[in-house]
């Protein structure tokens, strides 16, 4: 069986009487009727055609592919949580709401912020909520002319896309040669039409923005606000709080920093945290304690809220997993996360440099990730970052993120995370050394990789031309 649609069993239905007008009734439903074993076998075998953290080293930069503790999955899916209908009254979900309230507090403490709303479904929705709050803030102050958001060129694509969805115009800022922001460019860009700036620190260039306090001062002086993209929080977890760096609003990617699984694409959770100035605008609903019990707040509780982002309170199941992780680690465990995330990244960076790989910022300390550019190999041998990525797969190592940030040519963004062992890192270095040798001696091996996977290199061009997107 190649596809589930290859199952052709016919099974007579026992529908009984339907009180549905004939003109609304469906004539046929062209779906298969596989047996339970056929389904189980098909999807179990499909699953085996995946790389995953549970099976492979997965140093995908910007994605923080750390171990997703299984205990979090088990506790979050206890029937007492999994079976609650969202419209269940607060009185019948105090256990859950208590946990969520704790999570709100923990995240506020972790980020150095004042208030937290858990409802955004992912980082990008958190960004949207965040810039929407910035918008609401300026509107409330009558500064409706603040229509621009500044974003470094190296920023993640969701940043400008979210700003645009919130009705802003985006201005991109350059970074200096050491990876830090170009302050002059910032000054030129700032003005009374600027609503805010979106940064992440450490930046997507894999280095810590050392001028952050200065940046915050200048941005605030100009009347604009600072947004913190929390996707890189793992680098400074438990050590540096965005609130203290001067940020006014941020999101966290719980599915990165707090180890909830990425599930082949999602779900995530992009809780937003704000300083005092943005508190009134937080998206509803948050969990509050009304003196008697925990409950979800409504629009009435927070009349200036930017509103609601989803039908109910967000990706609760993900939030529960994140909280299990937080409580498992505790304060000290969280600090160790950033220490070892940084140790692993710097160890790999030094190791690759020793092999002759060019890193983007050799003079800088790596944060939890770092950038290698193989522009040299491309020029000398026609070997691209893509080829390195595909060849790594042959060794059971997932490729790093490639071609992001877009401004570094032929780049690989490498993030090992703290949960990988020295032995795994050493093996990665050994493999990378072999790849470099291959690139210099026999580049075709790389260009035609992968060789040991269920499929060879996939023809993405044909895919886009044919556009066979359903069967």
């Amino acid at each position: 069986m190649e596809s589930i649609f290859d199952c052709h069993h016919q099974r007579p239905e026992e529908l009984g009487a339907l009180e549905i007008p004939g003109n609304l009734l469906r004539r046929e439903l062209p779906l298969p009727n596989p047996s339970e074993l056929e389904v189980l076998r098909h999807y179990t075998r499909l699953s085996q055609r995946n790389f995953s953290i549970d099976t492979h080293f997965y140093p995908l930069g910007s994605c923080t592919m750390k171990y997703n503790p299984r205990i979090a999955h088990q506790l979050a899916t206890l029937p007492g949580f999994a079976r609650i209908h969202p419209a269940c009254p607060a009185a019948a979900q105090q256990g859950l709401l208590h946990i969520l309230a704790e999570l709100q507090e923990d995240l506020a403490e972790l980020t150095g912020m004042t208030g937290v709303s858990l409802s955004p479904a992912a980082g990008a929705q958190g960004e949207l909520a965040g810039v929407a709050m910035i918008r609401a803030y300026h509107r409330q102050r009558g500064e409706t002319q603040r229509q621009r958001i500044l974003i470094p060129q190296a920023a993640h694509g969701t940043n400008p896309a979210s700003a645009r969805m919130a009705g802003f115009v985006v201005t991109e800022l350059p970074n200096g040669p050491d990876g830090d922001l170009d302050l002059d460019a910032l000054d030129r860009a700032l003005g009374n039409d600027v609503a805010g700036i979106m940064l992440t620190n450490p930046s997507t260039l894999g280095v810590f923005e050392r001028q952050i306090q200065e940046i915050a001062r200048r941005v605030h002086e100009s009347g604009a606000l600072l947004y913190y993209d929390g996707a890189n929080l793992n680098a400074i977890l438990g050590r540096v709080k965005p609130g203290l760096m001067g940020f006014d609003v941020m999101h966290l990617n719980l599915h990165k920093t707090l180890a909830t699984p990425h599930g082949g694409g999602g779900p995530g959770a992009g809780a937003v945290a704000v300083g005092p100035s943005l508190l009134p605008f937080l998206p509803v609903p948050r969990v509050i304690h009304d003196g008697q019990q925990y409950r979800w707040e409504t629009h009435r509780d927070r009349p200036h809220s930017i509103g609601s982002l989803s039908a109910y309170g967000g990706n609760i199941g993900v939030l529960l997993r994140a909280h299990v992780y937080l409580r498992r680690l505790g304060a000290e465990g969280l600090r160790q996360v950033s220490a070892y995330a940084a140790l692993n990244a710097n160890y790999l960076m030094a190791g690759l440099q020793a092999q002759g790989y060019r890193v983007a910022f050799p003079q800088r300390r790596a944060s939890h990730e770092f950038i290698v550019s193989v522009a040299d190999l491309q020029q000398a041998k026609g070997v691209r970052a893509l080829d390195i990525a595909k060849r790594l797969l042959d060794f059971g190592i997932h490729a790093p993120t490639i071609y992001f940030p877009q401004l570094i040519p032929e780049c690989l963004l490498i993030e090992p995370t703290e949960s990988e062992s020295k032995a795994t890192l050493d093996r990665f270095l050994t493999v990378m050394a072999q790849l470099r040798r291959e690139a210099l001696e026999d580049p075709e091996i790389l260009r035609s990789a992968p060789h040991n996977l269920p499929v060879g290199r996939v023809d993405e061009t044909l895919a886009a031309r044919r556009l066979q997107v359903a069967q």
Binding site: A92, L96, G157, G330, V469
Partner: protein, 449 residues
Amino acid sequence: MPYIPHDAEETAAMLSALGLGDLEELFSEIPAELQASTLDLPTGLNEAQLRRQWEASARQQPDLLCFAGGGAYAHHIPAIVWEIAARGEFYSAYTPYQAEASQGTLQLLYEFQSFLTRLTAMEVSNASLYDGASSLVEACLMALRLRPGTSEILVSEGLWPHWQKVLTSLLSLQGITLRMLPLDPETGYTRLPSGDFSAAAALIIPQVNRYGLLEDVDQQSRWAEAQGLLQIAVVQPLALTLLRPPGEWGNGGVDIAIGEGQALGVPLSAGGPYLGFLTTRKTHIRQLPGRLVAKTVDSQGQTAYCLTLQAREQHIRRATATSNICTNQGLLVTAACIYMAVLGAKGLREAAARSHQRAVALRRRIQELPGVRVPFAGAIFQEFRVELPVSAVAFRDYALGRGILAGIPEQELDPNADPRSLLVACTELLEETDLAQYLQTLREFLQES
């Protein structure tokens, strides 16, 4: 240190390879004053302690017979759905950017897209959005892109009130206006207005509507077509197994059909994670938000799958992408795909029929109770509206004490709704005895109040 493998010797060896004395030095570039902060969080618990605490918290939620709906339904989820979806290879994989290392997820997404296009009779489905409500937002933005120059969306009041709020929150950011079409207070059906709709991009047609009613979707579809509007269907996937699909509404089907996929094997989980889906015509494919998987070949000509038309997405197109979405609801898609496969056409239609029949029966029997009104007589799928003689919240709370979640007081979704109005939903999980217990509880409540 949970989940960190290094021992002291390994840590020391790595630090020394870096020429560092201790771990703190790794942060030497960070201004000292920023690092001074303390972290006021409890110390870590071991797994056994956590399990004990959390099980105690979980037990605080009573196990209720669920008659609540409002877009989230307590259907049966076969055991294998999450046994497979939670396998590490699905659970702990990232978005399938490296196709060769992700054929499992990619083929599954492709099959999901195929299930959805077949279910809706549309040509293209994406690989999920956050949830139904945000899918509707994306559909509106997509329609506005397809109709440059417009800035308005027509929405039936029959759309879930809580979805209306999301629409308002997010569309208003871009200055988009929602123009509401009222419901007929007698029938509960959408009234099609006359007027000038040239500023509008699309009409939103919710089937079923907020009162659980099945609307005359053909009429609405044809009306929209006549006004030159795009059509956005809001559908319930399980209902579609019995109902004529949006791809066949009106003359040529709708332009975009979206919905909430929770009913397809996703636990209620207090509201999420669920999954939104969005299907459309092939001609609109370049305006599609979200990920899309295509079938192609590998270097040897074997069948293979990959993400396609990525140039629509934020990681390439940045500010001009079709959406800001990046992380979506992959794992729920996995569950939904397996759910649809394991139920199959037969199982899906039977689950839908059973849900429908339970609701029809319960509505009929509730109607016979003195003092209770069932305001709308039209055909329903699995949900309906009841008007009690007293506050719906009061009955809901009363029934809670009997282990029943009796429905959603409409006012909790919409502050302007009648406080006596209750939305009641049924699924195939409810047995005849459960309906009887519901009726008995309601009867006793009515007597006591």
